[in-house]
Symmetry: C2
Subunit: 421 residues, 2 copies
């Protein structure tokens, strides 16, 4: 089920899952007017929800709203049914004080009213500039328009409406069988800058990267939480563009149960298959974020194995993946492998330099701490491929991790220096 070749990344993933409708409309929140900037997702019945949120201390108002709503499930063990998600792009509603909290709640109330849904059945996400208040008149008009536009083919518009500096929408769809019953998983994500997700479940409080995922599978609340946590840990929490964990990172998974499969419970083969499929969808979306990182000219994969633990491998790989010196060397197609080792060396993980080996693609550069003579032309060719891979073996243990990022180009500086609040 983790065979990524089964994943369909064509437009419309979210609403290819039966029972979900979506819309993307323009209400004037983005600088270039006319761009889609408000997405709405609705389910034909109350759905079980699982979600993970940024660990940034400055959580945006919509994050605080959603966390409060979903944490009730954890207090009374009675899952809060969710029937819609409203997402705006252009204004993050972060660092907006008490007024911002009221705005986030108002987005939920307006959506509930527009869709005739009960109270506390809508989740909210925002992405865009920090520190600005939402123009609530425009948002309100946008919610009305989106509610009127909801469609079983609206997934592609929703995927475009949540983009900010993204160049392409990010969608992924996968089908699997549970107990002989076909079930579907569809997801969208956005994110290009301020990307270094560090997401945690509500229970254990913690870019902007946003992701909404739909499924018609019937999944028990505990299994849904566990599957999302495992999938996010192996996907969104392993991509970085600039190291800057956002105030707004949110992943929401809605499970309607409409497929009629036998309920997926923790600890079963069905659970394993569902978790693997969900991980496949999330990983496809996460890699799409790294590939579309601000100014990216290459997708970069950093693999660390032989570490003392998986956690140490991930720490080392993330340090390499956020090193400006490594990222500019890749942009410049220079096999400056010393920068990769220097980053591993400053990461704080256990390292014995004499045991470390390093590869660029298939070209080995270092063996047991000793630099090798290598084919410079082959190394440069590996740096000019669309996907560049550095892999290090620390020679200490069985810990391993893979992290995805992109290179650091002139365009990254342009996007972020010429962006004016």
């Amino acid at each position: 089920m983790s065979d990524r070749s089964q994943i369909d990344t064509s437009p419309g993933a979210l609403t290819r899952v039966p029972g979900f409708r979506a819309a993307g409309v323009s209400c004037g929140l983005k600088e270039e007017s006319g761009q889609l900037d408000l997405a709405l997702l609705a389910c034909d019945r109350p759905a079980a929800a699982a979600a993970m949120f940024t660990t940034n201390a400055f959580k945006a108002a919509p994050v605080l709203y959603d966390m409060a709503l979903l944490s009730r499930s954890h207090i009374d063990m009675h899952p809060q049914p969710i029937q819609a998600v409203v997402i705006n792009a252009g204004v993050a509603n972060a660092c907006t004080g008490q007024g911002g909290l009221r705005d986030a709640e108002r987005m939920a109330r307006l959506t509930e009213a527009a869709l005739s849904l009960p109270a506390d059945s809508v989740l909210v996400m925002s992405t865009g500039v920090i520190g600005h208040r939402l123009p609530m008149d425009r948002v309100g008009a946008g919610i009305q328009a989106a509610a009127r536009s909801l469609s079983p083919t609206g997934g592609a518009d929703a995927a475009r409406a949540i983009m900010t500096t993204d160049l392409v929408p990010k969608e992924a769809f996968l089908q699997l069988e549970i107990g002989g019953v076909p079930v579907s998983i569809g997801g969208i994500a956005k994110g290009s800058g301020m990307i270094h997700p560090d997401l945690a479940p509500v229970g254990a409080p913690h870019a902007t990267m946003l992701s909404a995922i739909t499924t018609d599978a019937a999944v028990s609340p505990a299994a849904l939480d566990a599957a999302l946590a495992a999938a996010v840990d192996a996907s969104f929490n392993r991509v970085t563009v600039d190291g800057d964990t956002s105030t707004n990172d949110t992943v929401v998974l809605l499970a309607s149960g409409a497929a009629g499969n036998p309920m997926i419970e923790l600890g079963t083969r069905d659970y394993q298959n569902f978790e693997a499929a969900l991980t496949g969808v999330c990983r496809s979306l996460a890699i799409a974020i790294a590939r579309d990182g601000e100014g990216a000219t290459h997708l970069v994969e950093i693999v660390v194995r032989g570490a003392a633990s998986d956690a140490q491998a991930q720490r080392a790989a993330k340090t390499v993946a956020t090193s400006p010196l490594v990222k500019t060397a890749i942009f410049g197609a220079d096999p400056n492998w010393g920068r990769v080792l220097a980053a591993i060396g400053r990461s704080g993980v256990e390292v014995d330099p004499a045991r470390v080996s390093l590869w660029l693609g298939d070209v080995q550069l270092v063996a047991g701490g000793e630099p090798l003579s290598f084919d410079a032309a082959a190394a440069r060719a590996a740096l000019k491929a669309p996907k560049v891979r550095f892999s290090a073996d620390l020679g200490l243990g069985s810990g391993q991790a893979t992290v995805w990022t992109c290179d650091l180009s002139y365009t990254y500086v342009e996007i972020n220096a010429e962006y004016h609040t």
Copy 2:
């Protein structure tokens, strides 16, 4: 003594201290031939030495050589007298395996021979590209030439010879009185990229920034170690250019005792004055490194106060100072303060958003977690000054720290993407 107006940054600082001679020569280690690339510093008598080294796990061969030499002082409590320091630029002699270790030792032996010094009286530093072996024939010729060129006015050449991507040499000189006797402190430093020093003494093993400091003060070994540790913690360990802690960072302080002052001992008023003066010299050099960071168009000062502890304040300030989004916003002169708060929020320190206030220069942007209306023209003016300052008050405690960095420009990308190994 910490009044920086007393500090003289004109050329020749190192040899303005009586009894020290220096030289800078060209031996063909840098790409553009003819540039000075090997520095030699010598004292007219055995000097007490204190040093601090990078905490990077991939310590360069000269770092390992110096650490082994100086750690003897800590084992037998008999300080190793040092009489010269040899420094090359162009090749870092890092990640060079066993051969590199032999090369570093050979640099020391060749210097001892050229200056007729006893064994184990020379420290070695290197900076430049990682993973390349030193061309020892050229280095040997350079050491011979430098030994012949040693001069009591050679400090300025030494300061130029250790530069790599630095645009300007970095020098600082200060005089003070100890027991009525005038004593001098002179220092040089280099560093522009791979700058995020995290230096620790030999005893507690731990970019490339290099610094050599001379003084004719008589200082007890314990006082010398303590003064350097305190000075480095308040200076070099508070600058960052790119977050990439180098394999080669080294600070060496030689104290000849030739001034004839009463020996400076720990816990005395004289010690306090000496530590403050040394801190002033180190801070002047450290700020010069941040100002001359690769591609820098502004010196940036990040102040965090009101943190739960000084360590938390420093962690928060360093996270802001290494944020690509903050640094590109400063390059673009955009008062995008949300990026500053987002960086504080992801730093892992204790934060209560409702207590946080933020200023850009003298313009307050946030008060108690609420965004303020502010004079956008004044904010943009503050971003166009040669020195840009963001200061945050977390409102929690009395912890504070100041960190220096620079902005992130197109030129940073150019320097590091068009640099070819």
